[in-house]
Amino acid sequence: MINIKNLHKAFGRHEVLCGIDEEIKQGEKVVIIGPSGSGKSTFLRCLNLLEIPTSGEIWFENVNITDKKTDINVLRQKMGMVFQHFNLFPHLSVLNNITLAPVKLGLQTPEEAKENAIRLLKRIGLEDKANAYPLQLSGGQKQRIAIIRSLAMNPKVMLFDEPTSALDPEMVGEVLEVMKELAKEGMTMVVVTHEMNFAREVGTRVLFMDEGKIVEQNSPTEFFSNPQNPRLRDFLGKVL
């Protein structure tokens, strides 16, 4: 579904990604872990071109999205993204946060979009917040709404950039719960996170990044019980 070929990204002279080759298949839940500064967020943000790669290619459903002629806006409609800091639109109600993109892009009529939004809100138990504004919500509620805002576009893949890192500890669970449900439904997911339990329970494959490279990858069980790379061992020793 997503093919990454020899991906490089540098900010000025600082190389953040040093040649990444990876394939993400439909239905996979790929969890990326690694120390901060390892390039995992940059890697994720390259997948929908929020960061423009310095070199290399990214293919999404057999379209080269790094080709300048590709309309990235159309492809982004199929790639949902959830951010660490939620990035809800503070001037819009929860409902309008969810319906804005599908309506303005002409994918759904306002009525359809509203119906769809209410359905999604019911799913996460927040239908009573439809007319609330983001700043009246808790962090966990905001992130759950950010997730369904992406889902309202009916994406084929969801990218999560440390979705629980900015949350108070007691709110992490409710967000992970929504993500687990999404995983169960078969959504293709790429998740950058520090939640090792999530990686273990939900991931179908775990990648360890360090200094701009994917150093090791494996199924979660093998990954955590039998780490090979000394840096991964060191990292797991510190976080587990």
């Binding site: 159309v74 790639m79 949902g80 951010f83 800091h85 990035n87 639109f89 993109a101 805002r149």
Partner: protein, 238 residues
């Protein structure tokens, strides 16, 4: 006591001759109208110019095709901010519009102040847009919205709340700054005081009188601005 009575009588007399005698009150009011007129229309022109420049500035960060235009804007901004308003006004009148008939002073003043204000408005708008967290742009783009759509539906509605009060400030500044248009013989409020002064040989009454008028207008506009700010804060569900 007697001295005070004499002073009081003289003051009353001075106020009468310097403000009301022989239609002088209308001279002031006509001047005030011209002052407000110039302030208003140069603010409108300033906003138009400021918006254009802000668009160039914001978009030229990524779009290399706009670099030459951005360079021109930079020259303009440097010139306007780096030279006295009075000099800009004189250049506009005696150089660029040297050919214009003498009756065109007011439009020329409006153009001079509009061009000046545009530089400051550009900065206000640019700062307003850039004060919005870049995560907002990223969230909009990640949903598939184009850069223009994200600007229109997400960034600008939030930026306006920062921009409007600051724009109002710029208008208040303009009302005060236009006092120098008498340099090119525009009969504004300040000029009215000068005219009266040259007839009556009294300085303090006409000058304090127009100072009070300016003050009333500025205080009134400031109060209006505070209300506007409060209204915006209410709509804003933060």
């Amino acid at each position: 006591m007697v001295m005070f009575m004499a002073f009081w009588a003289e003051l009353q007399n001075n106020i009468y001759t310097n403000i009301f005698y022989s239609g002088r009150f209308f001279l002031y009011m006509k001047g005030l109208l011209i002052t407000l007129n110039i302030a208003f229309f140069s603010a409108v022109l300033g906003v138009l110019i400021g918006m254009l420049i802000a668009i160039v500035k914001v978009y030229s960060v990524q779009n290399k095709g706009l670099k030459p235009l951005n360079f021109i804007c930079d020259i303009y901004l440097t010139f306007v901010r780096g030279t006295p308003m009075a000099v800009q006004l004189l250049i506009m009148y005696f150089v660029f519009f040297a050919f214009a008939p003498a009756t065109f002073q007011i439009p020329i003043a409006i153009i001079a102040f509009g061009f000046n204000s545009g530089a400051y408005v550009a900065e206000i708008i640019r700062a307003g847009i850039q004060s919005i967290d870049r995560g907002q742009m990223e969230a909009g783009r990640s949903l598939g919205l184009t850069k223009n759509m994200t600007m229109r539906f997400i960034i600008l509605p939030q930026a306006v709340k920062n921009i409007l009060p600051a724009l109002f400030n710029e208008f208040i500044t303009l009302v005060k700054e236009t006092a120098i248009v008498s340099l090119i013989a525009v009969p504004d409020l300040t000029m009215a005081a000068s005219l009266v002064r040259s007839r009556t040989f009294n300085a303090y009454v006409p000058l304090f009188f127009i100072a009070i008028i300016y003050l009333i207008i500025v205080v009134g506009l400031t109060a209006l601005q505070k209300r506007l700010e409060r209204r915006l804060a209410v709509n804003d569900q933060h």
